[in-house]
Symmetry: C2
Subunit: 144 residues, 2 copies
Amino acid sequence: MFSRACEYSIRATILIATHSMVGERVSLKDIARKTDSPLAFTGKVLQQLVKGGIVTSVQGVNGGFEIGQKQMEETRLSQIVAAIDGEQIFRACGLGLQACNAKKPCPLHDKFASIRNDLKTMLEGTSILDLSTGLKDGLTFLQR
Amino acid sequence: MFSRACEYSIRATILIATHSMVGERVSLKDIARKTDSPLAFTGKVLQQLVKGGIVTSVQGVNGGFEIGQKQMEETRLSQIVAAIDGEQIFRACGLGLQACNAKKPCPLHDKFASIRNDLKTMLEGTSILDLSTGLKDGLTFLQR
DNA sequence: TTAAACTCGGATAAATTTGTCCTGTTTAAA
DNA sequence: TTTAAACAGGACAAATTTATCCGAGTTTAA
Ligand code: SF4
Ligand code: SF4
């Protein structure tokens, strides 16, 4: 569904948010450990998120990653996915035709577009905060 | 969403079905041309479908691929996807955790599992025949 | 001033997916 | 019996994704 890079970036962002809630920063090292992700690779995708304005990084001692209260309320999961995997997933044809076009539909169009749209709606309706509260309260998990 | 190999295999199967409806076989050459797919690679994935019992191949002059009337009615899109991409897509965690487990859910669990289930239901409820009639009648397309 | 704890970013490597090539085998018809 | 049209399948190549390595820059505190 999502690329590995995208999965890592979502897990990382959620973790960052739970720490930002209590005024802490998280280091890449901790992110990698607590989300069970490869450190250096996760560093790369986090840089993309920083450039995309989704999370903030602070260099130096006591540095790390953080996300503002407002950011975590307003940023949608769809933005993370778009920042890493691109908009493709929201628009692509289920059968791989060059462009999705309801005027000249592929055989799967109606059924596929419906689900793709549900996915889009879900991702656009879910904020980082939504995902982070459950983790903070110990109801959900980032590793298993 | 689906791998390229899977997209090719679905397009190929639908095309094969439209020909089988009128008692014809289709050659790999024609499949590649009419579905805008790389010939040799499509040949590979078709071999997987043959092994999976989804389509039948006939060697020699006037050979090609075909699919029985009953097969196209009974075979579900989910079976093609499973044959090429595996069952992963129906079971995998949206955030990439090792196994999907509602008892120890990832933060996206509820919302993701719902959509993943809709997708599964859709794929299981769609037969090759369903997809092929529209193409045969010129209402849907396999290239653009 | 120095050391330590951090992020940043380029280069490179490994793994996977996608794609091609070439040879062999089967089959029908000439 | 020969020939040509077709699938089968192994070996290899290209492209993409995933992952690692390492040196450089930044910041705080001792
Ligand atoms: S059918 Fe769905 S997937 Fe295929 S082209 Fe139309 S919208 Fe895209
Ligand atoms: S939340 Fe959804 S995706 Fe994550 S583990 Fe549970 S079922 Fe799988």
